[in-house]
Amino acid sequence: MVKKVEHQRVDTGTLLEWYRSMVFVRRFEEQAERSFRRGKIGGYLHLYSGQEAVAVGALAALRDDDVLFASYRDHAYVLLRGTDPGVVMAELYGKATGVCKGKGGSMHLFDVPRGFYGGYGVVGGHVPLAVGAAYALRYEDGGDRLCVCFLGDGALNTGAFHEAANLAGLWGHEGLCPVVFVIENNQYGMGTSVPRSSAVTVLASRFGAYDIPNEQCDGMDPAVVYEVVRRGVDEVRRTGRPWAVEALTYRYAAHGAADLLQPYREKSEIEEWRERDPIIRVERRLREAGALDDAKVDEIGAEVDRTVEEAVTFADASPEPAPDELFTDIYADGEVRP
């Protein structure tokens, strides 16, 4: 579970935990890709590598009773909310022990007890859900929980986003829509760059059309993301009004693990962004602060690898879903007489 910040100061200890979290997410994704290549994971697999600072910084600013919605690129959020890596990997493996019993897979992770209400596969389709969920959180008076909606740059071009954002703006006027929109602008929707898909390229600015306060921030530094999101979160919690942040970040891997060609971008562009890699940046900062040295780096790496290996072992050893699972969870038990 990602380290929360005490008395709103990002001290070295916290930063070190975030470093560990980012390394963990990175290694988990690298392992997922290896498992995909070995045929252990099927379907679509969307890796988060490069974007770790966004999830780590944003989730650090949340409370455990806040709720989250995201797209199919959703591994990091559940891992950082504290879901056991084994049951996450087991879901990717399509096993009965998976967090969704193997029925959802990589794109549809859920951990409702931890407030993660799912990864969704239709671009933009989860945004209305998040807005409705936010309304529900203020439906009973006195509540101060909020809802965070992670969405990609491409999702802003969908009607679902537009209609939901307008509803959020309207309900926000009555203090009934505590939703935080976190746009992860990783520069591309599959092979289409932001300038080729959005008529305006400062995506945060689009929220002006819905009377939703918004800002842009560096999405490659968890401390920056945290500071910005924390301010936003405090405001949203207090006012019950929506707020949006566009985090400028980058996807290192192909859109999906199955995509081999990437004719839409230059290797050099990837290299440039890698120089701003959040893990390397935080590592450097921690070394300067004397909180990290080669030995510690290796130690953390080894620890994290062990966790990931254990997750794989668990997933591998887990059974497939029982055949009759095919027909369960379509309706609540007893809802429909067979």
């Binding site: 969704c100 799912g118 945004v127 409705g132 936010a134 009607g159 537009h162 969870d329």
Partner: protein, 324 residues
């Protein structure tokens, strides 16, 4: 039993369920200040306030999706679509989210939600406003589909829908809102998946639902005058679909006619006809006949519109053919 209009049966049930359960709330276009295009929610804004009776912008995809999110967080939204025609812009939220979230979340969270409004043709509303969509939504597992034909069933099925735990496609009809009928008082509840035999006969089985029930009953009466006695079965819900009741009847009559408002191609009757043959192949003395709407976009001109729709005469004619 009190006599109520279909409209008042719906409205009364909404009030009872909202009084009973504070988690029940309403969303839709012009359901509050305006009172609802068909006045089903008239007065409810004053009674329950803006938090529970939400007038929405013209954003079906958005507010149906918001309803899904509300339901996931424990509320019980009842959403009015001004007519089901407009649900097509919101279909993705119904089919991709509402119907499937319980499944792909491995049962972690459900979507207890009702989407209600008039389905099918009105009078001269032309092609974009005159569609019956039961087979479209009926196809998707995870959804339930109800099509009450009477005030009593409107009340009983709406209550079951609101108290249930699944997303429900609740198909009303503009031409039924004013229809009066006896309605059991109290906690009258009609479980999903139970068709009703609303008329007894031995010569043929007529199967239908929703608005078409009334045409079918009129046809049955007309036929009875000539000594042709029909079982008339009101399916009431299309998912679950109570084929057992239909099959029981057909085993007795050996003949069946299925009446639908939709065009025949990939319409609701095709499934019912197929289901009858799957259960009663050896019992049938004549081919099962479909009486369907014409396979055309609905025209505006009244004379063409009437030609395009099923009516008593067409049903009578179809039954005569089967019993001949």
């Amino acid at each position: 039993m009190p006599e109520l209009t279909y409209r008042d049966a719906l409205k009364g049930t909404l009030i009872e369920e909202m009084d009973r359960d504070p988690r029940v709330l309403l969303l839709g276009e012009d359901i509050g200040v305006y009172g609802g295009t068909f006045l089903v929610t008239d007065g409810l804004l004053t009674r329950y306030g803006r938090k529970r009776v939400i007038d929405t912008p013209i954003s079906e995809l958005g507010f149906i999706g918001c309803g899904v999110g509300m339901a996931m967080l424990g509320l019980r939204p009842v959403i009015e679509v001004m007519t089901w025609n407009f649900s097509l812009v919101g279909a993705d939220q119904i089919i991709q989210n509402a119907a499937k979230i319980r499944y792909f979340s491995g049962g972690q969270v459900g979507v207890p939600m009702v989407i209600r409004g008039p389905n099918g043709a009105g009078v001269q509303l032309s092609a974009q406003h005159s569609q019956a969509l039961e087979s479209l939504y009926g196809h998707f597992p995870g959804l339930l589909v109800a099509a009450p034909a009477t005030p009593a069933d409107a009340r009983g099925l709406l209550r079951a829908a609101i108290r249930g735990s699944a997303p429900v496609i609740f198909l009303e009809s503009a031409s039924l809102y004013g229809v009066r009928g006896e309605v059991p008082a109290g906690e009258h509840l009609v479980p999903f998946g139970c068709a009703a035999k609303v008329r007894e006969g031995r010569d043929a089985t007529l199967v239908t639902h929703g608005r078409m029930l009334h045409l079918t009953l009129a046809a049955a009466t007309r036929l009875a005058a000539d000594g042709v006695e029909c079982d008339v079965i009101d399916l009431r819900t299309l998912r679950p679909l109570d084929m057992a009741t239909v099959a029981d009847s057909v085993r007795g009559t050996h003949r069946a006619v299925v009446v639908e408002e939709q065009g025949a191609m990939f319409g609701v009757a095709a499934e019912i006809v197929t289901g009858i043959y799957e259960r009663c192949f050896d019992d049938l003395d004549a081919p099962v006949v479909r009486v369907s709407g014409a396979d055309v976009p609905m025209p505006y001109a009244r004379n063409l519109e009437l030609l395009a729709q099923p009516n008593e005469a067409k049903i009578v004619e179809a039954v005569r053919r089967t019993v001949a």
